[in-house]
């Protein structure tokens, strides 16, 4: 088993074009231009940041978990991973990662899947898929068909050689981050997970921060 090597970013936070805290349970949708860099920070540790990506030029072309993991031959994302759309289009590349474990197959919690996983009476609880749908409903170009398996940044969902899938304690910690370079015009959709039934966040959803830099790491007219 390979040992994770953290890759730090050279980008300075004071030179970021944009900075925003996404509180637990909130959503965020934002367009990135090619060359822009997005950093997602796990502010308090072991938070799951459920994230989807779309081609801004073709909103029907979403991030493809299986194309991404099959092409790299590995379930997990880290520095060097190229995130692909369902069309095969290259959307983003991870350029820095101080956490080392980001889930690609656990998907987003939903009211309906909560009834299956936990109990029927969890149906009213807030969940990521509701946040995704609320965010996508702001834009006419999206429909429910555009929801696809997402990335869970900072979440640890180990798969064993025997084929078992579990939700484990995260490997993240306060301040750990992942940084992605946009390779094309990309729309980023985040639900900062409000899951209260899963021990992986100690039943305590916490805020995440996003920062954006332009191509040169300095302000630009965007």
């Amino acid at each position: 088993m390979s040992t994770f090597q953290p890759v730090q970013s050279p980008l300075l936070t004071e030179k970021a074009l944009y900075e925003k805290v996404i509180t637990a349970g909130d959503g965020w949708i934002h367009d990135l231009l090619p060359g822009q860099v997005l950093r997602i920070v796990d502010m308090e540790g072991n938070q799951a940041v459920d994230t989807l990506f779309y081609s801004t030029e073709d909103p029907s072309d979403h991030y493809s978990a299986v194309r991404t993991i099959t092409r790299q031959g590995n379930l997990y994302l880290t520095t060097g991973s190229t995130l692909l759309a369902e069309s095969g289009r290259e959307l983003l590349r991870i350029t820095a990662d101080t956490c080392g474990r980001h889930d690609t197959i656990g998907g987003a919690c939903s009211a309906q899947s909560n009834t299956v996983r936990y109990a029927h009476d969890t149906l009213p609880m807030h969940n990521c898929r509701d946040t995704f749908m609320l965010m996508l409903s702001q834009r006419d170009e999206y429909t429910k068909r555009d929801l696809a398996p997402n990335v869970n940044f900072f979440m640890n969902v180990p798969v064993t050689p025997e084929g078992e899938l579990t939700f484990a304690d995260g490997l993240s910690a306060p301040g750990r981050y992942v940084e992605l370079l946009a390779l094309a015009p990309v729309t980023v959709l985040i639900s900062n997970c409000p899951q209260l039934n899963n021990p992986c966040n100690a039943y305590n959803p916490t805020p995440a921060k996003v920062l954006i830099w332009d191509a040169e790491g300095v302000s630009a007219n965007v």
């Binding site: 095969g88 309906q112 064993t160």
Partner: protein
């Protein structure tokens, strides 16, 4: 059970059909290195469809076999795997693309090879989805029946050859579904030889689901998914 319908899918071929709930669909491979990539949609509302993450995390598994069910994004049991002489079906690896097919097996065209040209899962899905009034945006994560992919603890995905000749898997439909099948290679199969296994598809009426059904009893999560399906159909059923 007497089959209501049988057909043989040649290597590279595709098939889609609406199949009502309460049917048994058996896929039988005639040779080794078989792979059938399958997409599943609710027949009446195709925006509801098989959801890989929900299915796997509810059953704590990264592969599918007898006892497992396929769940929709609405927390319902869509289909159950009632029989399986293969043992491991891959839900993680997606489908072959035109580019990947040309790279691995050499570029082929209909002009040169006629119907022996090599098809990809991507094109097969696009055609069958479009034929059913859907589009490429509806391509999701398929189940790759007959294929095994073992993931090491560091996440490395390894295609694992398993015997498939004369092996079969049977799905019971728990909802009315649109089923889309593509008999195209597994994307991580390292062999440069396009597989030559045909798949015999047969459909029969299934026995009613009993309280002792192994797929219902498999885990509490499965029972709740069945309850969600049964409740949804109860709401649809007329008073008389």
């Amino acid at each position: 059970m007497t089959a209501l319908f049988t057909m043989t899918m040649q290597p590279g071929s595709k098939w889609s059909a609406h199949v009502g709930r309460g049917k048994s669909i058996t896929l039988k491979a005639t040779g080794d290195r078989a792979n059938v990539s399958a997409l599943f949609f609710h027949a009446q509302d195709p925006a509801e469809r098989y959801n890989m993450p929900d299915t796997l995390k509810a059953q704590h598994t990264a592969f599918l076999t007898r006892g497992n069910i396929l769940m929709t994004d609405q927390g319902k049991a869509l289909a159950s795997i009632t029989e399986d002489s293969v043992g491991w079906h891959d839900p993680l690896s997606g489908y072959t693309t035109r580019e990947g097919t040309d790279d691995k097996y050499g570029k082929t065209t209909y002009q040169d090879q006629r119907n022996d040209w090599l098809r990809s899962g991507e094109e097969n899905f696009k055609v069958e989805l479009f034929r059913n009034n859907l589009s490429p945006r509806d391509i999701g994560v398929p189940v790759n029946f007959f294929s095994k992919v073992v993931c090491e603890l560091d996440g490395t995905m390894n295609y694992s050859l398993q015997e498939t000749a004369e092996r079969s898997v049977t799905l019971r439909t728990e909802m009315d579904m649109l089923l889309v099948l593509s008999n195209t290679p597994h994307p991580l199969d390292p062999s440069g030889q396009y597989p030559d296994a045909s798949i015999v598809v047969s459909v029969a009426d299934a026995e009613p689901v009993s309280d002792m059904d192994p797929c219902v009893l498999h885990c509490d999560e499965n029972r709740r998914a069945f309850e969600n399906t049964w409740n949804a159909y109860a709401l649809l059923k007329g008073a008389n």
